[in-house]
Protein backbone atom coordinates (compact mmCIF):
# COMPACT_ATOMS: atom_id res chain seq x y z
CA UNK A 1 0.00 0.00 0.00
CA UNK A 2 1.24 3.48 -0.86
CA UNK A 3 2.16 5.66 2.12
CA UNK A 4 -0.05 8.31 0.54
CA UNK A 5 -3.05 6.11 1.39
CA UNK A 6 -4.33 6.09 4.97
CA UNK A 7 -6.59 3.65 6.76
CA UNK A 8 -9.72 5.09 8.35
CA UNK A 9 -11.60 3.63 11.29
CA UNK A 10 -14.90 4.40 12.99
CA UNK A 11 -13.08 6.74 15.34
CA UNK A 12 -10.99 8.64 12.79
CA UNK A 13 -13.52 8.73 9.95
CA UNK A 14 -15.37 12.01 10.67
CA UNK A 15 -12.27 13.92 11.62
CA UNK A 16 -10.45 13.00 8.40
CA UNK A 17 -13.41 13.39 6.05
CA UNK A 18 -14.72 16.66 7.55
CA UNK A 19 -11.33 18.17 8.21
CA UNK A 20 -9.86 17.84 4.74
CA UNK A 21 -9.37 20.75 2.36
CA UNK A 22 -9.03 18.35 -0.59
CA UNK A 23 -11.72 15.89 -1.63
CA UNK A 24 -11.42 12.55 0.17
CA UNK A 25 -11.84 9.21 -1.59
CA UNK A 26 -12.89 6.44 0.77
CA UNK A 27 -12.44 2.92 -0.58
CA UNK A 28 -14.74 0.52 1.31
CA UNK A 29 -13.09 -2.89 1.12
CA UNK A 30 -12.48 -6.22 2.86
CA UNK A 31 -9.93 -8.98 2.78
CA UNK A 32 -12.38 -11.51 1.29
CA UNK A 33 -13.31 -9.38 -1.73
CA UNK A 34 -11.50 -10.33 -4.96
CA UNK A 35 -12.38 -7.19 -6.98
CA UNK A 36 -11.22 -5.02 -4.03
CA UNK A 37 -7.76 -6.57 -4.36
CA UNK A 38 -7.63 -5.65 -8.03
CA UNK A 39 -8.67 -2.05 -7.47
CA UNK A 40 -6.28 -1.42 -4.55
CA UNK A 41 -3.09 -0.98 -6.62
CA UNK A 42 -4.91 1.43 -8.94
CA UNK A 43 -5.96 3.57 -5.98
CA UNK A 44 -2.35 3.48 -4.77
CA UNK A 45 -1.23 4.88 -8.12
CA UNK A 46 -3.92 7.55 -8.07
CA UNK A 47 -2.90 8.54 -4.55
CA UNK A 48 0.71 9.00 -5.67
CA UNK A 49 -0.11 10.84 -8.87
CA UNK A 50 -2.81 13.09 -7.42
CA UNK A 51 -0.99 13.83 -4.17
CA UNK A 52 -2.10 17.24 -2.89
CA UNK A 53 -5.21 17.26 -5.11
CA UNK A 54 -7.09 14.43 -3.49
CA UNK A 55 -6.74 12.35 -0.34
CA UNK A 56 -7.14 8.59 -0.83
CA UNK A 57 -8.23 6.54 2.17
CA UNK A 58 -9.46 3.02 2.86
CA UNK A 59 -12.04 1.68 5.25
CA UNK A 60 -12.17 -2.00 6.15
CA UNK A 61 -15.89 -2.86 6.37
CA UNK A 62 -15.23 -5.98 8.44
CA UNK A 63 -13.63 -3.91 11.18
CA UNK A 64 -15.85 -0.84 10.76
CA UNK A 65 -19.33 -2.08 9.80
CA UNK A 66 -21.10 0.94 11.32
CA UNK A 67 -19.50 3.37 8.87
CA UNK A 68 -20.44 1.17 5.92
CA UNK A 69 -23.99 1.00 7.21
CA UNK A 70 -24.17 4.74 7.77
CA UNK A 71 -23.45 5.38 4.09
CA UNK A 72 -25.63 2.54 2.83
CA UNK A 73 -22.72 0.56 1.42
CA UNK A 74 -24.13 -2.79 0.30
CA UNK A 75 -21.46 -3.84 -2.16
CA UNK A 76 -17.71 -3.63 -2.23
CA UNK A 77 -15.59 -2.18 -3.53
CA UNK A 78 -17.60 1.04 -3.15
CA UNK A 79 -15.70 4.30 -3.40
CA UNK A 80 -17.23 7.45 -1.98
CA UNK A 81 -15.82 10.87 -2.74
CA UNK A 82 -16.40 13.41 0.04
CA UNK A 83 -16.21 17.16 -0.52
CA UNK A 84 -16.54 19.35 2.57
CA UNK A 85 -17.73 16.31 4.47
CA UNK A 86 -20.58 15.54 2.06
CA UNK A 87 -20.82 12.56 -0.31
CA UNK A 88 -20.20 14.01 -3.75
CA UNK A 89 -19.73 10.86 -5.83
CA UNK A 90 -20.41 7.18 -5.39
CA UNK A 91 -18.69 4.49 -7.44
CA UNK A 92 -19.78 0.89 -7.07
CA UNK A 93 -17.65 -1.97 -8.30
CA UNK A 94 -14.08 -2.32 -9.48
CA UNK A 95 -13.05 -0.39 -12.60
CA UNK A 96 -10.00 0.12 -14.76
CA UNK A 97 -7.84 3.15 -14.05
CA UNK A 98 -9.10 5.42 -16.85
CA UNK A 99 -12.73 4.82 -16.00
CA UNK A 100 -12.10 5.14 -12.30
CA UNK A 101 -10.33 8.48 -12.74
CA UNK A 102 -13.24 9.75 -14.79
CA UNK A 103 -15.86 8.60 -12.30
CA UNK A 104 -13.86 10.05 -9.43
CA UNK A 105 -13.87 13.37 -11.29
CA UNK A 106 -10.06 13.55 -11.47
Amino acid sequence: MSDKVSNLTETTFDEVVNGSAEPVVVDFWAEWCGPCKMVAPILDEIAEEQDGKVKVTKLNVDENPAVAQRFGVMSIPTMLVFRDGEVDRRIVGAKGKAQLMEELGL
Partner: protein, 323 residues
Protein backbone atom coordinates in the same frame (compact mmCIF):
# COMPACT_ATOMS: atom_id res chain seq x y z
CA UNK B 1 6.37 0.50 -34.74
CA UNK B 2 4.75 -1.39 -31.90
CA UNK B 3 6.72 -4.26 -30.35
CA UNK B 4 6.41 -7.65 -32.00
CA UNK B 5 5.67 -10.49 -29.58
CA UNK B 6 5.94 -14.21 -30.20
CA UNK B 7 2.75 -14.85 -28.23
CA UNK B 8 0.13 -12.45 -26.95
CA UNK B 9 -2.43 -13.95 -24.58
CA UNK B 10 -5.72 -12.12 -24.10
CA UNK B 11 -7.24 -13.05 -20.74
CA UNK B 12 -5.88 -14.08 -17.35
CA UNK B 13 -8.15 -16.70 -15.89
CA UNK B 14 -7.01 -20.31 -15.45
CA UNK B 15 -6.75 -20.77 -19.26
CA UNK B 16 -4.79 -17.59 -20.03
CA UNK B 17 -2.39 -17.95 -17.12
CA UNK B 18 -1.75 -21.66 -17.74
CA UNK B 19 -1.01 -20.80 -21.36
CA UNK B 20 1.35 -18.12 -20.01
CA UNK B 21 3.16 -20.61 -17.74
CA UNK B 22 3.72 -23.04 -20.61
CA UNK B 23 4.62 -20.39 -23.17
CA UNK B 24 7.03 -18.74 -20.71
CA UNK B 25 8.71 -22.06 -19.99
CA UNK B 26 9.09 -22.52 -23.75
CA UNK B 27 11.06 -19.23 -23.73
CA UNK B 28 8.41 -17.41 -25.74
CA UNK B 29 8.20 -14.50 -23.24
CA UNK B 30 4.42 -14.26 -23.55
CA UNK B 31 2.62 -10.99 -23.03
CA UNK B 32 -0.62 -11.38 -21.06
CA UNK B 33 -3.26 -8.71 -21.49
CA UNK B 34 -4.98 -9.50 -18.24
CA UNK B 35 -7.98 -7.21 -18.55
CA UNK B 36 -9.20 -4.39 -16.34
CA UNK B 37 -10.73 -4.58 -12.88
CA UNK B 38 -14.51 -4.91 -12.76
CA UNK B 39 -17.00 -6.57 -10.44
CA UNK B 40 -18.03 -9.09 -13.08
CA UNK B 41 -16.16 -12.22 -14.15
CA UNK B 42 -14.58 -10.19 -16.98
CA UNK B 43 -11.54 -8.98 -15.04
CA UNK B 44 -7.95 -9.93 -14.21
CA UNK B 45 -8.04 -13.44 -12.77
CA UNK B 46 -11.41 -14.14 -14.35
CA UNK B 47 -14.49 -15.61 -12.78
CA UNK B 48 -12.63 -17.24 -9.89
CA UNK B 49 -11.96 -13.75 -8.51
CA UNK B 50 -15.63 -13.71 -7.51
CA UNK B 51 -15.71 -17.09 -5.81
CA UNK B 52 -14.88 -18.15 -2.29
CA UNK B 53 -13.64 -21.64 -1.61
CA UNK B 54 -12.66 -23.67 -4.66
CA UNK B 55 -13.07 -27.29 -3.56
CA UNK B 56 -12.58 -29.14 -6.82
CA UNK B 57 -9.21 -27.87 -8.04
CA UNK B 58 -6.77 -30.79 -7.70
CA UNK B 59 -3.80 -30.26 -5.43
CA UNK B 60 -5.68 -28.34 -2.77
CA UNK B 61 -7.27 -31.03 -0.59
CA UNK B 62 -8.54 -28.45 1.91
CA UNK B 63 -9.79 -26.10 -0.80
CA UNK B 64 -8.40 -22.71 -1.68
CA UNK B 65 -9.94 -19.26 -2.07
CA UNK B 66 -10.59 -18.36 -5.72
CA UNK B 67 -8.68 -15.04 -5.70
CA UNK B 68 -5.77 -16.70 -3.85
CA UNK B 69 -5.60 -19.46 -6.46
CA UNK B 70 -5.49 -16.93 -9.27
CA UNK B 71 -2.74 -14.90 -7.55
CA UNK B 72 -0.71 -18.11 -7.44
CA UNK B 73 -1.34 -18.84 -11.12
CA UNK B 74 -0.07 -15.38 -11.97
CA UNK B 75 2.95 -15.62 -9.71
CA UNK B 76 3.90 -18.88 -11.38
CA UNK B 77 3.56 -17.38 -14.89
CA UNK B 78 5.58 -14.30 -13.97
CA UNK B 79 8.29 -16.43 -12.36
CA UNK B 80 9.05 -17.99 -15.74
CA UNK B 81 9.13 -14.71 -17.62
CA UNK B 82 5.55 -13.97 -18.62
CA UNK B 83 4.72 -10.28 -18.63
CA UNK B 84 1.26 -9.15 -17.53
CA UNK B 85 -0.33 -5.81 -18.40
CA UNK B 86 -3.50 -4.70 -16.62
CA UNK B 87 -5.16 -3.54 -19.80
CA UNK B 88 -8.07 -4.61 -21.91
CA UNK B 89 -7.80 -5.29 -25.63
CA UNK B 90 -10.18 -2.97 -27.45
CA UNK B 91 -9.71 -4.23 -31.01
CA UNK B 92 -7.89 -6.94 -32.92
CA UNK B 93 -7.06 -7.31 -36.59
CA UNK B 94 -6.52 -10.94 -37.52
CA UNK B 95 -6.66 -10.44 -41.29
CA UNK B 96 -2.89 -10.63 -41.70
CA UNK B 97 0.18 -11.66 -39.78
CA UNK B 98 1.55 -10.42 -37.53
CA UNK B 99 -1.78 -9.94 -35.79
CA UNK B 100 -2.59 -6.49 -34.50
CA UNK B 101 -3.94 -5.78 -31.02
CA UNK B 102 -5.15 -2.43 -29.78
CA UNK B 103 -5.48 -1.29 -26.17
CA UNK B 104 -7.37 1.89 -25.32
CA UNK B 105 -8.60 3.86 -28.34
CA UNK B 106 -9.72 1.25 -30.90
CA UNK B 107 -9.54 3.86 -33.68
CA UNK B 108 -5.87 4.66 -33.12
CA UNK B 109 -4.01 4.29 -36.43
CA UNK B 110 -1.21 2.19 -34.91
CA UNK B 111 -1.98 -0.97 -32.94
CA UNK B 112 -0.53 -1.25 -29.44
CA UNK B 113 0.99 -4.69 -29.97
CA UNK B 114 1.92 -6.99 -32.82
CA UNK B 115 1.76 -10.73 -32.28
CA UNK B 116 3.13 -13.64 -34.29
CA UNK B 117 0.59 -15.85 -32.53
CA UNK B 118 -2.43 -15.05 -30.42
CA UNK B 119 -4.05 -17.04 -27.62
CA UNK B 120 -7.64 -16.07 -26.90
CA UNK B 121 -8.62 -16.79 -23.30
CA UNK B 122 -11.19 -14.07 -22.69
CA UNK B 123 -13.57 -16.31 -20.77
CA UNK B 124 -17.21 -15.64 -20.09
CA UNK B 125 -19.17 -13.23 -17.97
CA UNK B 126 -22.36 -13.67 -16.05
CA UNK B 127 -25.69 -12.85 -17.58
CA UNK B 128 -28.05 -10.41 -15.91
CA UNK B 129 -31.84 -10.62 -15.92
CA UNK B 130 -32.24 -7.54 -18.10
CA UNK B 131 -35.02 -6.05 -15.97
CA UNK B 132 -35.46 -2.23 -16.00
CA UNK B 133 -34.45 -1.66 -12.37
CA UNK B 134 -31.56 -4.06 -12.36
CA UNK B 135 -28.56 -1.91 -13.36
CA UNK B 136 -29.43 1.14 -11.21
CA UNK B 137 -29.88 -1.09 -8.16
CA UNK B 138 -26.49 -2.80 -8.46
CA UNK B 139 -24.78 -1.98 -5.20
CA UNK B 140 -28.14 -1.22 -3.62
CA UNK B 141 -29.36 -4.76 -3.17
CA UNK B 142 -28.72 -6.22 -6.61
CA UNK B 143 -25.38 -7.98 -6.63
CA UNK B 144 -23.14 -9.64 -9.19
CA UNK B 145 -20.72 -10.91 -6.55
CA UNK B 146 -21.97 -12.93 -3.58
CA UNK B 147 -18.54 -13.13 -2.00
CA UNK B 148 -18.17 -9.34 -2.15
CA UNK B 149 -21.61 -8.43 -0.90
CA UNK B 150 -22.98 -11.30 1.22
CA UNK B 151 -21.61 -9.61 4.33
CA UNK B 152 -24.05 -6.70 3.93
CA UNK B 153 -27.11 -8.96 4.13
CA UNK B 154 -26.65 -10.24 7.66
CA UNK B 155 -29.99 -11.35 9.15
CA UNK B 156 -31.90 -10.35 6.02
CA UNK B 157 -34.07 -12.28 3.61
CA UNK B 158 -32.56 -12.47 0.15
CA UNK B 159 -33.01 -14.29 -3.15
CA UNK B 160 -30.75 -16.02 -5.65
CA UNK B 161 -31.92 -16.51 -9.22
CA UNK B 162 -30.65 -19.55 -11.09
CA UNK B 163 -30.31 -23.31 -10.76
CA UNK B 164 -26.77 -24.18 -11.81
CA UNK B 165 -23.63 -24.74 -9.77
CA UNK B 166 -22.87 -21.06 -9.35
CA UNK B 167 -26.41 -20.27 -8.14
CA UNK B 168 -26.35 -23.08 -5.59
CA UNK B 169 -22.83 -22.25 -4.46
CA UNK B 170 -23.79 -18.60 -3.97
CA UNK B 171 -26.98 -19.51 -2.11
CA UNK B 172 -25.11 -21.85 0.22
CA UNK B 173 -22.42 -19.24 0.84
CA UNK B 174 -25.02 -16.53 1.50
CA UNK B 175 -26.66 -18.57 4.29
CA UNK B 176 -23.61 -17.69 6.39
CA UNK B 177 -25.05 -14.18 6.61
CA UNK B 178 -28.68 -14.07 5.55
CA UNK B 179 -31.59 -15.31 7.66
CA UNK B 180 -33.12 -16.93 4.58
CA UNK B 181 -32.13 -17.46 0.95
CA UNK B 182 -34.83 -18.18 -1.61
CA UNK B 183 -33.60 -19.85 -4.79
CA UNK B 184 -35.79 -18.79 -7.69
CA UNK B 185 -35.49 -21.19 -10.60
CA UNK B 186 -37.42 -21.27 -13.83
CA UNK B 187 -37.40 -25.07 -14.01
CA UNK B 188 -38.59 -27.74 -11.59
CA UNK B 189 -35.14 -29.21 -10.99
CA UNK B 190 -31.60 -27.95 -10.54
CA UNK B 191 -28.78 -28.25 -13.04
CA UNK B 192 -26.18 -28.05 -10.27
CA UNK B 193 -23.95 -31.00 -9.43
CA UNK B 194 -25.31 -33.62 -7.04
CA UNK B 195 -23.02 -32.66 -4.16
CA UNK B 196 -24.07 -29.00 -4.39
CA UNK B 197 -27.74 -29.96 -4.59
CA UNK B 198 -27.54 -32.23 -1.55
CA UNK B 199 -25.88 -29.46 0.40
CA UNK B 200 -28.58 -26.96 -0.58
CA UNK B 201 -31.49 -29.31 0.16
CA UNK B 202 -30.01 -30.03 3.60
CA UNK B 203 -29.63 -26.33 4.41
CA UNK B 204 -32.49 -25.10 6.58
CA UNK B 205 -32.05 -21.50 5.49
CA UNK B 206 -32.53 -22.28 1.79
CA UNK B 207 -36.01 -22.30 0.27
CA UNK B 208 -36.95 -23.01 -3.32
CA UNK B 209 -39.40 -21.39 -5.69
CA UNK B 210 -39.68 -23.74 -8.68
CA UNK B 211 -40.92 -22.86 -12.16
CA UNK B 212 -40.66 -19.24 -11.18
CA UNK B 213 -39.33 -16.16 -12.93
CA UNK B 214 -38.63 -12.68 -11.61
CA UNK B 215 -40.77 -10.12 -13.46
CA UNK B 216 -39.87 -6.97 -11.55
CA UNK B 217 -37.40 -5.71 -9.00
CA UNK B 218 -39.28 -3.45 -6.59
CA UNK B 219 -37.57 -0.46 -5.02
CA UNK B 220 -36.15 2.91 -6.01
CA UNK B 221 -33.17 3.57 -3.72
CA UNK B 222 -32.71 -0.02 -2.72
CA UNK B 223 -34.23 -3.43 -3.31
CA UNK B 224 -37.48 -3.80 -1.37
CA UNK B 225 -38.85 -6.92 -2.97
CA UNK B 226 -39.49 -8.89 -6.12
CA UNK B 227 -42.49 -9.58 -8.27
CA UNK B 228 -42.43 -13.16 -9.45
CA UNK B 229 -44.54 -15.36 -11.68
CA UNK B 230 -44.98 -19.09 -11.84
CA UNK B 231 -44.38 -20.04 -15.46
CA UNK B 232 -46.66 -23.07 -15.29
CA UNK B 233 -49.71 -21.56 -13.59
CA UNK B 234 -49.05 -17.90 -14.52
CA UNK B 235 -49.77 -17.11 -10.89
CA UNK B 236 -48.13 -13.84 -9.83
CA UNK B 237 -46.63 -13.30 -6.40
CA UNK B 238 -44.49 -11.02 -4.28
CA UNK B 239 -41.33 -11.89 -2.44
CA UNK B 240 -40.13 -9.57 0.30
CA UNK B 241 -36.33 -9.58 0.01
CA UNK B 242 -33.67 -6.90 0.40
CA UNK B 243 -31.08 -8.56 -1.79
CA UNK B 244 -31.03 -10.19 -5.21
CA UNK B 245 -28.11 -12.26 -6.46
CA UNK B 246 -28.21 -13.22 -10.11
CA UNK B 247 -26.55 -16.45 -11.28
CA UNK B 248 -28.41 -17.46 -14.41
CA UNK B 249 -25.51 -18.45 -16.61
CA UNK B 250 -22.78 -16.99 -18.73
CA UNK B 251 -22.03 -15.42 -22.07
CA UNK B 252 -18.64 -15.86 -23.76
CA UNK B 253 -16.55 -12.69 -24.16
CA UNK B 254 -16.22 -12.90 -27.94
CA UNK B 255 -17.46 -9.47 -29.08
CA UNK B 256 -13.85 -8.48 -29.79
CA UNK B 257 -13.59 -11.21 -32.44
CA UNK B 258 -16.93 -10.75 -34.20
CA UNK B 259 -16.58 -11.27 -37.93
CA UNK B 260 -12.97 -12.45 -37.54
CA UNK B 261 -13.12 -15.81 -35.76
CA UNK B 262 -15.72 -18.50 -36.39
CA UNK B 263 -18.25 -18.84 -33.59
CA UNK B 264 -21.11 -21.15 -32.77
CA UNK B 265 -24.67 -19.83 -32.74
CA UNK B 266 -24.37 -19.28 -28.99
CA UNK B 267 -21.31 -17.03 -29.44
CA UNK B 268 -18.66 -19.48 -28.23
CA UNK B 269 -15.48 -19.66 -30.31
CA UNK B 270 -15.11 -22.65 -32.59
CA UNK B 271 -11.93 -24.60 -31.89
CA UNK B 272 -10.91 -27.76 -33.65
CA UNK B 273 -10.84 -30.32 -30.85
CA UNK B 274 -8.67 -31.94 -29.70
CA UNK B 275 -6.48 -28.99 -30.72
CA UNK B 276 -7.09 -25.35 -29.81
CA UNK B 277 -6.87 -24.10 -33.42
CA UNK B 278 -9.50 -21.50 -34.29
CA UNK B 279 -10.67 -20.57 -37.78
CA UNK B 280 -7.61 -18.32 -38.22
CA UNK B 281 -4.21 -19.95 -38.44
CA UNK B 282 -1.97 -18.75 -35.61
CA UNK B 283 -4.88 -17.88 -33.32
CA UNK B 284 -5.63 -20.37 -30.56
CA UNK B 285 -8.65 -20.49 -28.26
CA UNK B 286 -8.80 -21.91 -24.74
CA UNK B 287 -10.92 -21.84 -21.60
CA UNK B 288 -14.54 -20.80 -21.23
CA UNK B 289 -14.53 -18.64 -24.35
CA UNK B 290 -14.64 -21.83 -26.42
CA UNK B 291 -16.15 -24.27 -23.90
CA UNK B 292 -19.91 -24.45 -23.61
CA UNK B 293 -19.78 -27.93 -22.09
CA UNK B 294 -17.46 -28.25 -19.07
CA UNK B 295 -16.56 -24.70 -17.98
CA UNK B 296 -14.41 -25.72 -15.02
CA UNK B 297 -11.20 -24.13 -13.74
CA UNK B 298 -9.32 -27.37 -14.38
CA UNK B 299 -10.64 -27.87 -17.91
CA UNK B 300 -9.80 -24.24 -18.67
CA UNK B 301 -6.28 -24.70 -17.33
CA UNK B 302 -5.96 -27.89 -19.40
CA UNK B 303 -6.97 -26.19 -22.61
CA UNK B 304 -4.70 -23.23 -21.79
CA UNK B 305 -1.79 -25.67 -21.64
CA UNK B 306 -2.86 -27.16 -24.98
CA UNK B 307 -3.09 -23.69 -26.56
CA UNK B 308 0.47 -22.81 -25.48
CA UNK B 309 1.82 -26.08 -26.86
CA UNK B 310 -0.13 -25.61 -30.10
CA UNK B 311 1.22 -22.05 -30.41
CA UNK B 312 4.77 -23.14 -29.68
CA UNK B 313 4.69 -25.92 -32.30
CA UNK B 314 2.99 -23.71 -34.84
CA UNK B 315 5.62 -20.98 -34.36
CA UNK B 316 8.38 -23.57 -34.78
CA UNK B 317 6.80 -24.86 -37.98
CA UNK B 318 6.64 -21.29 -39.28
CA UNK B 319 10.34 -20.80 -38.57
CA UNK B 320 11.21 -24.09 -40.25
CA UNK B 321 9.21 -23.05 -43.28
CA UNK B 322 11.26 -19.88 -43.37
CA UNK B 323 8.51 -17.40 -42.55
Amino acid sequence: MPDLHEVVIIGSGPAGLTAAIYAARASLAPLVLEGEPSSTGDQPGGQLMLTTEVENYPGFPQGIMGPELMMQFKEQAVRFGAKAETVKASRVDLSERPFKVWVGDPDAPEPTYLAKSLIVATGAKSLMLGLPNEQPLIGHGVSTCATCDGFFFRDQDIAVVGGGDSAIEEATFLTKFASSVTIIHRRDELRASKIMQDRAFANEKIRFMWNTEVTEIVGTDRVEGLKVMNNETNEAGDLAVTGLFVAIGHRPNTDLFAGQLAMKDNGYLVTHAPSTYTSVEGVFGCGDVQDDVYRQAITSAGSGCAAAIDAERWLEAQEDAGH
